[in-house]
Symmetry: C2
Subunit: 167 residues, 2 copies
């Protein structure tokens, strides 16, 4: 197992799951005449982020990890998506960025120091701990929360949609 194997293909697999889940949500809106803006604004609690932001943060966790572990600049995506189509483009762009990274750039990254700011704090990790206790857990947290919001809203989804990688 090298750092590439436990990062890029994992993010890509579950970004494809997220895209497939959002396609089902969009179809649900069309079938029930639900305004997509309403669906994308749903939250599980008033002080939690809405669905659209869950997708953006999952993208951020994936591209941030791919960039930092490969020693590339983190691409900045302006969080302006307001439609399912725009969120699909965001996910596709994130997958494209990750798939453009070279596995050799990840060599040695498990012990490379990773610095980032989160919630106004400066954090520092070895690359392995960054990936396993920060980036991937954050990524799965937001993909799962997107799924949970949609399940709570009555969209017909099952855990296989989460696991299947869009297959």
């Amino acid at each position: 197992m090298n750092m590439y194997d436990v990062s890029v293909p994992v993010f890509v697999h579950f970004l494809k799951s997220l895209a497939a889940i959002l396609r089902k949500a969009e179809a649900h809106c069309a079938a029930r005449k639900i305004d997509p803006v309403v669906m994308l604004g749903l939250r599980l609690s008033p002080d939690m982020f809405p669905l659209s932001r869950q997708v953006q943060i999952a993208s951020d966790a994936a591209k941030g990890a791919g960039a930092r572990l490969s020693g590339s600049p983190v691409p900045g995506y302006p969080d302006e998506e307001k439609t399912f189509e725009e969120l699909q483009q965001r996910i596709a762009k994130t997958i494209g960025f990750l798939e453009g990274l070279d596995a050799r750039q990840f060599e040695g990254s498990e012990s490379r120091q990773i610095n980032l700011k989160a919630g106004g704090r400066e954090l520092s990790f070895a690359g392995g701990a960054y990936l396993e206790t920060w980036a991937k857990p954050n990524f799965f947290f937001h993909v799962t929360t997107a799924y949970a919001i949609l399940r709570h809203a009555g969209v017909e989804l099952g855990k296989s949609d989460f696991l299947a990688g869009g297959q």
Copy 2:
């Protein structure tokens, strides 16, 4: 990165987060005079599992991965927990099992064939794919869903409770 490093310490870290989250939920019940049975039975959707089952499945994902990747029998825990205290014991037992595994038992497990039954299907994976696209995603899915149920129920939690490993 070896298979031990990307499995056992990750599961232990987030099981400790889950234990801390459940301690806050239990304190919330006590402060608001909420019957813990009600809280442990909450679901985000009628066809999703309740909180108590989310905790049990997170435990199953963690102990299953630890056992299969180390070539040990999967310990059977009888899903009978009905109180916060019993769920804490389940989590502690899972952590104890994982911490008792020897890192050397995981050597070569990334390419070892892992067979399991899930939802009536027979599945087969290489160990690395089993861990990264099945066991850990399932684990994070259920820890996050437990968190989401509690946030939706008004328990005061933040993402740092999810990330902090009980610290």
